[in-house]
């Protein structure tokens, strides 16, 4: 221990460089993890944070909200199923809109943006099913032309009181509340009444004759086995019932984002492993003669290996602290893309990095174990 600490004290620059490199890698991994979680929330937040525990998709959609549609016959069949307490209509679509902020832009190309609109029943048997559950300001819509908007897009003209226009005909929707983590497909998102949603569909396409629900929002009766009920609904012609979590997991974009960013995270961890491993090996080779001498004067192999592992753990531990501090400092500035300082994630990362550093030290440990004290008696041996 003393040996390890003394060496670190006397070669501060070298060990600081490793600690900084590890710190940077730890920061990058934590940042990418935050980005991944934030992006996934922005892809499916609207599904995760809506009130309906069960969603029924059109079978043709293969669990993709954008491709789903429920015909009136299917709607009636699901509503008539045993164990179904309430059924509401839930519509979803991507629309071209303008907001007070975009309308003030000087470049015409910036005046229109994409927004996702969800429409749910405000009255009738399915009233409130599909409503956002994370309201942070204002209120839920109570009439046609009102909406709750995604809090993340407040500054883009989706704050309480703002009027959003669905183009091209300019259907106006007034924002009456905002909710956290309700984005869908990373676009600004509005939760409005079914009637407003249907009107927006007609604005987009004047030839539209009927507007069918994208999915049905369901509440099962008390005491009904969820698995059995879902299986019975799915057995109906052309529909597929999913729990809220199943719908979230099956959403397009979730798997793609996870796989892409997990690849980057894996690469960064591999880099950390190799950087630490090669660095430790290099400093071991550099001090081979000193280690040989120590062995020759009676230092045990275990003493030298312990010193090496202690040194590695201390430097990597310092790197983890540096990476965590960097994240804590920069997370507030990156909160708009979902990056947050999560203590659990940071601690987990610390454990993983320390485990990696011990694994990475394997080659250096082998080299220390192979040192032959007799080599200290030859010039060649001390130079090696």
């Amino acid at each position: 221990m003393l040996l390890a600490l003394s060496e670190i004290r006397r070669a501060k620059a070298r060990f600081t460089a490793l600690a900084l490199a590890v710190g940077l890698l730890v920061f990058l991994v934590l940042f990418q993890q935050g980005l991944r979680d934030g992006l996934i929330t922005q892809f499916i937040g609207a599904l995760r944070n809506q009130s309906a525990p069960v969603l029924v998709y059109g079978e043709q959609a293969r669990q993709n909200l954008e491709g789903s549609q429920i015909s009136p016959d299917q709607q009636a069949a699901v509503a008539g199923m045993e164990g179904v307490a309430r059924v509401g209509r839930l519509g979803e679509g991507t629309f071209t809109v303008s907001t007070p902020v975009t309308r003030a832009e000087s470049d015409p190309d910036d005046r229109l943006i994409d927004a996702v609109i969800f429409g749910y029943d405000l009255d009738g048997p399915g009233a409130g099913l599909g409503a956002p559950t994370t309201l942070t300001a204002g209120r839920l819509p109570t009439a046609t032309g009102e909406a709750v908007a995604s809090e993340r897009n407040r500054d883009e003209g989706f704050d309480v009181g703002d009027v959003v226009r669905v183009e091209p005909a300019g259907l106006e929707i007034t924002v009456v509340g905002v909710a956290t983590d309700v984005n869908y497909s990373v676009a600004p998102t509005l939760f409005t009444s079914w009637n407003t949603y249907a009107e927006a569909r007609r604005v987009r396409n004047p030839d539209a004759v009927d507007v069918y629900p994208t999915v049905l929002a369901l509440e099962l009766a008390d005491g009904v086995d969820e698995g059995d009920a879902l299986a019975r609904i799915t057995a109906l012609e052309g529909v597929e019932a999913l729990t809220r979590q199943q719908a979230v997991d099956a959403s397009p974009g979730v798997a793609a984002v996870s796989q892409s960013l997990n690849t980057v995270i894996g690469l960064l961890l591999l880099t950390a492993l190799l950087v630490i491993g090669l660095f430790v090996l290099i400093i071991t080779v550099q001090k081979a003669s000193a280690l040989t001498l120590l062995r020759a004067i009676g230092a045990r192999r275990s003493t030298l290996v312990r010193a090496l592992l202690t040194q590695t753990s201390l430097v990597v531990g310092a790197g983890v602290v540096i990476g965590s501090v960097l994240l804590a400092l920069l997370a507030p500035a990156a909160s708009s893309i979902g990056v947050q300082f999560r203590l659990g994630q940071v601690l987990g990362m610390g454990v993983v990095t320390l485990a990696l550093s011990l694994l990475a030290s394997w080659a250096a440990v082998r080299r220390v174990l192979r040192i032959d004290p007799i080599a200290a008696t030859t010039t060649q041996g001390l130079l090696r």
């Binding site: 071209t96 183009e167 690849t263 950087v275």
Partner: protein, 374 residues
């Protein structure tokens, strides 16, 4: 240099760790590049196949096929723009297709067209379609009658075409009336009247660049009013990148590829720094007998290039085997150009990494060889 090559021949074990590590990275690079190309080609085939210079969308559509709507009066204005030689309509419907003899639905993009894309014959008779090869993997054969969407509109496949897919969905090329029938029966909220198309493709006479032609078209339709006929025109390259997710997909994959190349530089730098460190006494000796820094460093660089080449070959074999055995739905397309560029960049990264050893080689003092150095 000969000595460096001889060392590689006689002590290959010394380079095994670096070669294997780089081989893993090379296979990852090729796999990611293949996936990027496969996704891009599979998504943009329907656009790339068009023999058109400019794509015209409705101005409030944000360049989305599904949100775009072109009325006949807009089409007429576009047709009269100076330099325009041909105008054709396009319409798109994304549906599930029931394939005879298969329990699973196939993802299909029904595309109504007027001007034939490259490799696609003239529009077939109503109720018939040219299918993309991708649908073969879903069990579709010539003569099959597919039932499209929830309304189960029947369409007979009369032949196959290649590389014309849209967002990884197998294209079915039909005449505009068949597209409207599929769209109207399956999506009543997206119904289209007889004379409406979603997008216009425009061919120019070559007197103006594609950008100029697009600007002329938008200027000509601007007077029709926003949302009432004004247009947003894109060149073919812009239209490819306007497809949902394409731009983001390219950016994400290129970021991953960039990180991987940076890792290669770092690994090669650290590995050859270690090798050089181990050889300090030997290099001191060689310098003492007259070897120059240049000669010694050339040896390091040659070894880095050979290691990178061997690693790339191993990685390429792994990816080739993987591509041959991968399921058809995995959009992996390992293009020859991409293989060459990946190899070149990998070698450049290896050379760049080996440069890290240069300083150490320069500093070696020949006096060390006779015990005069430290």
């Amino acid at each position: 240099m000969r000595m460096a090559l001889r060392e590689l021949r006689r002590r290959p074990g010394r380079f095994t760790m670096a070669t294997l590590t780089l081989a893993v990275l090379a296979s990852l690079l090729l796999f990611l590049a293949g996936l990027l190309d496969g996704l891009y080609l599979g998504s943009t085939g329907a656009i790339r196949a068009q023999q058109a210079d400019v794509f015209v969308y409705g101005d409030t559509s944000r360049d989305s096929f599904l949100r775009s709507r072109i009325e006949p009066h807009t089409r007429e204005v576009v047709r009269q723009v100076a330099g325009v030689t041909a105008v054709g309509g396009l319409g798109l419907a994304l549906v599930g297709a029931a394939v005879p003899g298969s329990d699973d639905l196939a993802d299909a993009a029904v595309i109504g067209y007027e001007l034939p894309p490259r490799g696609v014959p003239e529009p077939p008779a109503p109720g018939q379609a040219w299918a993309d090869d991708r649908l073969r993997a879903e069990g579709v054969s010539v003569g099959d009658v597919l039932q499209l969407g929830t309304a189960r509109i029947p369409v007979e496949v009369i032949g196959f075409v290649d590389d014309t897919n849209y967002l990884l969905q197998g294209a079915l090329w039909v005449e505009p009336g068949t597209w409207r029938a599929v769209q109207n029966a399956n999506r009543p909220d997206a119904r289209v009247a007889d004379d409406i198309v979603q997008v216009l493709i425009v061919r120019g006479d070559g007197t103006a660049s594609d950008e100029e032609l697009a600007a002329r078209i938008d200027a000509a339709t601007a007077s029709l009013g926003t949302g009432s006929g004004a247009t947003s025109s894109l060149t073919k390259a812009e239209a490819e990148l306007s497809l949902p997710g394409t731009r983001e997909q390219n950016a994400t994959f290129n970021q991953i590829l960039g990180v991987t190349f940076a890792v290669v530089v770092l690994i090669v730098a650290l590995y050859f720094a270690l090798l050089t460190l181990e050889r300090v006494p030997l290099y001191g000796m060689l310098k003492a007998v007259g070897a120059s820094t240049r000669q010694l460093f050339a040896g390091v660089m040659v070894q880095a290039i050979v290691v990178a080449t061997a690693a790339f070959a191993m990685g390429a074999v792994v990816v080739a085997v993987g591509a041959a055995t991968a399921p058809a739905e995995l959009p992996l397309a390992v293009e020859q150009g991409r293989v060459v560029s990946t190899y070149v960049v990998l070698v450049l990264c290896a050379v760049l990494g080996s440069l890290a050893s240069l300083r150490r080689v320069v500093r070696i003092d020949p006096a060390q060889a006779i015990g005069g150095g430290s």
